[in-house]
Every structure is written in structure tokens, then in C-alpha cells.
């Protein structure tokens, strides 16, 4: 961009806009295009290779590399069918949704409430408590594993979904509260004060003013949290104790352990796992990038 502007704006090159000058400029930047071509290739080839493989018949995968598909254009959906039905990825897909949705909505609701409390309510030790909440961001999830399992055991919470919901929610709170509070305090003070003078209750201000104005921040955080949970393997390994409730990450890892060379199954399984993130990526890219950038503090 900088260079384009520099060239276009420079009076020393009056012919910059003519077609021939454009071609010269394009050729002059051939190394740039080649570099970017190689970069694109390195970042696309591994994923594209697996995507192509997921549609190839098993016999073809064993016989030739995916880059030779062009010589044998045969595609099938059988891999997806068998991984969904016979290999339990269908059930796991459902489990991933059952785990991810409450593990996103619960932190969203609880963090928004707390963030409002820490930004707009006045109470004793408010800032001290908030600081402690923020400091808890330092605690790695590993510190919760053993005690939470002990805590859940008498109630059999790891046999159902409640254990993993609670674990994800608790570990999301410090960061979510921190992030949303940082956004809420940037809202104009007059707006909140005026609503109070008009006799609006705090919950009314929260619902009618603060939340609607914070949709971008809440959406970005929600997407971040959803992908975080959807893509999580470790927490599920620890807090999902029942085989029937395994999410796709565990199921795919188990497939890899059992059928390490059955690439028709693994490729299809991996793309099922990528399905939700890719949909989010292409449909909500702006919030998605913002969410991930914001989440980097976590």
C-alpha cells in the first residue's frame, strides 16, 4: 500500500497510470509475487491435501498421493458417511455442540453481569475484588484438574455434561469479565447517569443500554469462547468421563490412535471437526479476528 501510494503520488513518474507502466511495475515486483505465491502454497497445501483426501476412495489414497488426484478424478462421500456412522463422529459432533453452547452462553451471561457490576455499580472493595478476578487469569487450567475431579466425583458430574460446563465456565470467568469490563467502562457515563436519574433500575440499564451498545465486544468474546471450547481437547479429556459424551476432538484423537494410517477416515474426521470454525471464519470474519486478537491475552 505504502509503495503504491508513493509511486502513484510521485510527480517524477508521470506515466504511472498508463497500461505499459503498470506492466513494468508488475514485472518489477515479480519477486514479491513469487514470495507470496510460495507463502500461499505453504499455508494452503497441507489443508487442501487433507480436504482432497477426505473425498478420495480408500484404495486411491493407498495407491497414489493426493497431488496425483488430477490423474484419477474419482470422488466419494463414503468416507464421511463411515466416519459419521460407524466411527461415532456423528454422535461426537452432537456432543461438541452440547458441550460448546452452554459453555459459551453461561460465561457470556455471568461475565456480562459481573463486568457491569465492576464498571458501573458502586460498592465497597469493588476494585480490589476486580483486581483479584483479573489476577486469576494467571492460573493455568491444570491447577483445577485434580480438585475439581474430586469435587465432581460424589455427584458424578463427569458422567454427564455438567462437569465440563462448570469447568469451562469457571475458567472463562476471569478473562471474560476483564475483557467485557474494559469495554463497558468506555461507554459514555452520561448515558448511564441519565438513565438512573430517569428512575431506571440497574438491571434495566444493563439490559436496555449497556448490552445493546456492547454487541460487538460481546459477539467477539462469544465467538472466541465458542471456538476455544469447540477446539478444546485437554479439558474434555479430564472432565468428560463418559465415552458416550466424547466431543469430536477426543473422538478424532482416538481414531488416530486406532487407525493411524486409515487416512480416508482421519481426513473426513478432521474436516468435520473444522466445520464449525470454518463456518464462523467465513461468515463472521470481522468479529472472529477481533475475538481471537482480544483472546490472545488469555
Amino acid at each position: 500500500m505504502g509503495m503504491n501510494n508513493a509511486v502513484a503520488a510521485s510527480a517524477a513518474q508521470p506515466a504511472a497510470g498508463t497500461p505499459s507502466a503498470r506492466i513494468v511495475r508488475f514485472l518489477g515486483r515479480t519477486p514479491v509475487h513469487i514470495t507470496l505465491g510460495i507463502i500461499a502454497l505453504i499455508w494452503l497445501a497441507p489443508t487442501v491435501g487433507l480436504l482432497v483426501t477426505s473425498f478420495r476412495p480408500r484404495s486411491d489414497i493407498q495407491a497414489t498421493g493426493w497431488w496425483e488426484t488430477i490423474t484419477t478424478l474419482r470422488f466419494t462421500l463414503v468416507n464421511y458417511q463411515s466416519v459419521l456412522d460407524a466411527q461415532g463422529m456423528g454422535r461426537a459432533f452432537l456432543n461438541s455442540i452440547i458441550i460448546s453452547v452452554p459453555s459459551t452462553l453461561l460465561p457470556l451471561a455471568i461475565c456480562s453481569l459481573a463486568a457491569y457490576g465492576f464498571s458501573w455499580l458502586r460498592f465497597r472493595f469493588r476494585d480490589t475484588i476486580f483486581l483479584i478476578v483479573v489476577a486469576l487469569m494467571m492460573v493455568p487450567v491444570q491447577l483445577g484438574f485434580i480438585p475439581l475431579l474430586q469435587l465432581f466425583k460424589p455427584f458424578h458430574l463427569t458422567q454427564g455434561f455438567l462437569g465440563i460446563w462448570l469447568a469451562h465456565t469457571a475458567f472463562a470467568l476471569p478473562f471474560g469479565t476483564f475483557l467485557l469490563r474494559n469495554f463497558f467502562i468506555t461507554l459514555p457515563r452520561d448515558l448511564v447517569e441519565a438513565a438512573r436519574i430517569d428512575g431506571s433500575s440497574e438491571i434495566g440499564i444493563f439490559r436496555n443500554i449497556v448490552v445493546p451498545l456492547s454487541v460487538p465486544a460481546i459477539a467477539a468474546y462469544g465467538i472466541f469462547q465458542f471456538l476455544w471450547v469447540w477446539n478444546d481437547l485437554l479439558m474434555s479429556l479430564v472432565f468428560v468421563g463418559n465415552n458416550a459424551n466424547y466431543p469430536m476432538t477426543i473422538q478424532l484423537n482416538n481414531l488416530l490412535g486406532q487407525y493411524g494410517t486409515e487416512w480416508h477416515l482421519l481426513a473426513a474426521g478432521a474436516f468435520l471437526l473444522m466445520f464449525a470454525p470454518l463456518v464462523v471464519f467465513f461468515s463472521l470474519q470481522r468479529y472472529f479476528v477481533q475475538g481471537l486478537l482480544a483472546g490472545s491475552v488469555k
Binding site: 507470496l36 493407498q62 491444570q142 485434580i146 465456565t169 438512573r196 430517569d198 478424532l252
Partner: protein
């Protein structure tokens, strides 16, 4: 409406800002409604577990219970355990190569892509792996690294040049480099997006003036671009170091810490020690070591973001 016309029997939390700029306290019920759910959950599911784990790290911890106080024995055992030392060394390897190369490549992609019209497409392509679960990344790269030259892309390329095929994940000499490459591939887009935004904030007049004064592209990079991105680079570096300390999925899925123990990392070690070996006291000690490493890093991070809205 004047504030004094408010009736005195309002429910708590209403009409509070009547006097002196509104420094009156919110009613206790309202505060509880907003703050109590988060506070209670944090106390029960985070603060209590943290304290318990600290205590457990000083205990034999049979079955995850407090069975016998052993002082610092778990920590002493840990640092006498060659697999734990190996895990720490591997984490250091990750920090040097993963963090260094993600920053370097991220900057190169950002700088080069800035010069073309399809910049957004390049950035999207490189950023895409950020969306994908590490478990799926692991499968993607298991496939690239497959030993069979009819299946694995890398060995196919080697075979095309008649070189000796490499067991990327099966040989101790290559395994850490192979795993780190997956991490780099997964995170470069993140660095690119952040650094690209920083580059965009450099005023074009400065670049133009430098070019008119006869500066070449290398000088511009050294003297203008690099100083402008050094702050975002340092913030990124901290984030990437945190990623390394929490790293679990890629080694767990791709090699299960192997061959032998050669690709173990500290978070993997905690999981294995606790949930496969049943040494809960030891596992708690590993978790505490992770916490101790994390505290100064996160303190830096939080201080940086404390006063600014991140989104």
C-alpha cells in the same frame, strides 16, 4: 425532571445519583445480583481448587486426596526426574524457535503482503489455521509427515529428488523440529495480522520522504519499519511464550510425547503424571511450577492491557 422529586421509597439501586455527583453506594441486593454469580463460581471452582493444588503439591496425594504431608519432596523428585527436565528443555526449544520464527515469518508476510492488492487474501490464508483445532492441525500435519512417500507430501518431495526418506515424527532428532514447525504454521497468521495493523499505522509521508531522500528498501525496513513494530512484537512475544507454556494438544495428538519421552512438554507431563501414572502429588507440583512461570508473564500482560479496551 429534578432529582429531588424522586419519592423516597424507591427500591434499592434506583435514583441513587441524587446528591453530590452520585457517589452513593449501590444497594447490596443489586450488587449481589450482578457480581455474586461470578464471585461464587470463582471461589468454588477456581480459588478453592488452586489452594487445594498448592497443598496437594506438598503431599503424597494418593488418589488425589491429602494422605501424607511430604514437604518439598515432590518438587525435589521433579527436578531429579530426567523426563521432567526433558520436558522443560523442550519447552525452551519451543520458546526459542517457535516464538522467534513466528515473529520473524509474521513480520515478513506482513511486510511483503503490504505491497500487493491481494493483501487481504494472503492474510486470510495465513490466518486460517488460527481457527482450526490443534487436534485437526495435528491430523493435517501427520498426513504431511507420513513416512510413506505415496501419502506424505514431504517425503514425496524428498523421493522426487531421490533423497533418503525421513521419519519426521519417529526419530528423536527430528521430532521436536517437526512439531515446532506445526506450531509455527498455526500461529504465523496471528503475528501477521497484528504486525500488519502496526505497519499500517506508519504514516505514508514518512516512507515517501525516506524514498525521496534515496533510502533503499532495506534501509527503510531497518530504520523505519522495525522500530515501529518493536512494541507490538514484544507484546506478541509474551503471548506466544504463554502459548508454549500451555502447549498440550500438538505433542499429545501427534506423538504422545514420543518417541520415548523425546517430545514431552510440561503441560503434557502434568497430564501424564496425574491421570495416567496416578501420581497426583507430583502432578500438582508440575501444575504449581506452571503457575510460578506464568505469574510474571501474565502480570506483564495484564498491566499492558489494564487501562485500554482490547476489542
Amino acid at each position: 425532571m429534578t432529582a429531588t422529586s424522586q419519592p423516597t421509597s424507591l427500591p434499592p439501586g434506583v435514583g441513587r445519583s441524587r446528591r453530590s455527583g452520585g457517589f452513593e453506594r449501590t444497594g447490596i441486593g443489586t450488587v449481589a445480583l450482578f457480581v455474586l454469580p461470578a464471585t461464587l463460581l470463582l471461589l468454588v471452582f477456581l480459588v478453592f481448587p488452586m489452594l487445594f493444588t498448592i497443598r496437594l503439591s506438598l503431599d503424597r496425594g494418593l488418589g488425589g486426596n491429602l494422605t501424607r504431608f511430604v514437604g518439598l519432596d515432590n518438587y525435589i523428585n521433579l527436578f531429579n526426574d530426567s523426563t521432567f527436565i526433558q520436558a522443560i528443555v523442550n519447552n525452551l526449544l519451543w520458546i526459542v524457535f517457535y516464538v522467534g520464527l513466528v515473529l520473524g515469518l509474521g513480520l515478513i508476510v506482513a511486510v511483503v503482503a503490504m505491497r500487493v492488492r491481494y493483501e487481504a487474501i494472503i492474510k486470510a490464508i495465513v490466518f486460517l489455521p488460527m481457527a482450526i483445532a490443534a487436534t485437526a492441525l495435528a491430523v493435517i500435519w501427520d498426513f504431511v509427515y507420513a513416512p510413506d512417500s505415496n501419502i506424505g507430501l514431504l517425503n514425496a518431495i524428498i523421493a522426487a529428488f531421490h533423497g533418503p526418506l525421513i521419519s519426521w515424527l519417529g526419530s528423536p532428532a527430528f521430532v521436536n523440529g517437526s512439531l515446532i514447525a506445526v506450531g509455527i504454521w498455526g500461529s504465523t497468521g496471528f503475528a501477521t495480522v497484528i504486525l500488519s495493523a502496526a505497519l499500517k499505522s506508519i504514516p505514508t509521508e514518512i516512507l515517501e520522504a525516506a524514498r525521496i531522500d534515496g533510502a533503499n528498501e532495506f534501509q527503510i525496513f531497518r530504520r523505519i519499519i522495525l522500530p515501529m513494530v518493536s512494541l507490538p512484537m514484544s507484546v506478541l512475544a509474551v503471548t506466544l511464550v504463554v502459548n508454549v507454556i500451555k502447549l498440550f494438544d500438538i505433542p499429545y495428538v501427534m506423538t504422545h510425547g514420543g518417541p520415548g519421552t523425546s517430545s514431552r512438554v510440561i503441560a503434557f507431563q502434568m497430564y501424564i503424571q496425574g491421570f495416567q501414572a496416578g501420581q497426583f502429588g507430583q502432578a500438582a507440583a508440575v501444575a504449581i511450577v506452571m503457575l510460578l512461570i506464568m505469574i510474571p508473564i501474565m502480570a506483564f500482560n495484564i498491566r499492558r492491557f489494564r487501562s485500554s479496551a482490547v476489542v
